[in-house]
Amino acid sequence: MSVPVRKFDAVIVGAGGAGLRAALQLSEAGLKTAVLSKVFPTRSHTVAAQGGVSASLGNSEPDHWHWHMYDTVKGSDWLGDQDAIEFMCREAPNVVVELEHFGMPFDRNADGSIYQRPFGGHMSNFGEKPVRRACAAADRTGHAMLHALYQRNVRANTQFFVEWMALDLVRDEQGNVQGVVAMEMETSEVYVFQAKATLFATGGAGRIFASSTNAFINTGDGLGMAARAGIPLEDMEFWQFHPTGVAGAGVLITEGVRGEGGILRNSAGERFMERYAPNAKDLASRDVVSRAMVTEINEGRGCGPNKDHVLLDITHLDPEVIKSKLPGIREISIKFANVDPIKAPIPVVPTCHYQMGGIPTNYKGEVIVDEKPVTGFYAAGEVACASVHGANRLGTNSLLDLLVFGKSSGNSMIDFIKTAPKDLPPLAIGDVERSLARVERLNQQSNGTQVNDARAAMQATMQKHCGVFRFKDMLAEGVAKILEVEKMVKTIEIADKSRTFNTARLEALELENLIEVAKATMISADARTESRGAHVRDDAEDTPERPNGRDDQNWLKHTLWHRDGNQLKYKPVTMKPLSVDTIALKTRSY
């Protein structure tokens, strides 16, 4: 085998917040650390996070990690693991203050302390009243975080491999992880990055849906690699959606538009929210609005040639009001929907935003399969499922997740590397050869499916059958359809076989990752016959025993989807925190 091998103590795939935070821990401990990234680190999708990072610093008013923990468990609709949630909320003040010392330009109070602002779901005293817990750097928190962490990593001599794409995980016969196979984009050369410890911090896979706020790079590469290597994916049925993104683009239209008098209409021009929420109408809560929109589309009253969206109408508003109060929305609509909302309504659709599930880990960042850590394998950030977000993520906990679990996985890797033999073991070549064969198939394939066609089929299937609001029959059909799409993906071909920065090849490899996530999501969602958090089903009835359709008796458990045979297994939710009493099951209402 002629594949060149590069050797490190630690290899990290992904250079967003979690990858950079872990790399820093390792490099500052003096370990030889490689970070692979498809794009320049400060252009990772973490850059899009605006809201802030939560920590019970109590700089503005009394706060406590235990209250933060309560909010997170409740937000998760009790699917979050309470040991991991306690760990995260207790660590939050430490990692935020650390970040401040790394040079993060947090907004400040007059006395110099970090300014904290209120945020939905952040409450004091176990849900009593709102508390200011979100720390931010203007509306650029993610951007500032990436810059602070990147600069610090450069100082610590982290070795960056920018514009490299990891292709596959390498495991030996015992299942121990030895590193990754990766491709240098500039040359299409394939290398093995062998290491004592490997971390996936590759982010989410929101691009499985037709409408997503995620950047194009969010293709679930770590999830695809893990699934192909026999690692199950946890709780993949749980995705956060926003009711109104521009159809076909995914850019969000703020809920403020409905506050200013925006009206949702179906293909008949009907103000359909009057039927679903006679009092609140278009100002009903997010889940009610999303549910109504999807029902209209499903029942054939969607708009456009594919009847796949509804319209957000503000044409009845005074044009001067639109220009003065909603200038950003007008610009977004003109740019991304080619519609001036003064003259015509905006096409909108519920839009995917965040992935709660992922590679199963504990709060130390160790990947856990069959209750045991996979030797040498770690995951952190959106790709991982610790699980702190459970069925629904609390706002500002995503950046916190990156910091806390980036750091804790870095520490776990340091401990492991210190006890590992000095010399790396012989490299198992089976996985390497399988990875090379995957690339070779793409080079050889003819008379196959075009990448764009297969991806569009996947995205349309996920959006229609497994979107923000789900129906029993649609899910069952969706499972059959996504397995058909998988067959298409198995024959995708590329016309361009050139070697330098071959975007077509990269997009084909990304699609092979996305399809694994799509299958995991559809099959897990079809099986979970309750409603919980972001997984909402029409057939899960709201009864006194099952408030909001949540069925704790049968479904208070994590899903584990296995690629092999599309098997589903389940594991219990960890209800026991590390040091405090359990936060007991309750109906989730705000």
């Binding site: 252009r43 850059v47 514009e163 500039e186 950047a215 991304f336 050139s498």
Partner: protein, 81 residues
Amino acid sequence: MEEVELKRILWRSRRGLLELDLQLERFVAEVLPTLSEAELALYGDVLLLPDQDFLAYVNGAVACPNARLVPMIERIRAAQR
């Protein structure tokens, strides 16, 4: 411009922000093939901007302080109409 440089520029038009991805996708498809070598090099320099600044310039929310880059920012803006 060497092909590798051109293709590197295409890849680097993938960003961390969806709104930039969408606008650059349009620009790359419609305008990039018409650019001169010097203009391509200038676009390559624009791609080095941090995403949040880049988006603010392309959206016209903030004026780009680097006068050299402004003509290319304007070309990207014009491609969205």
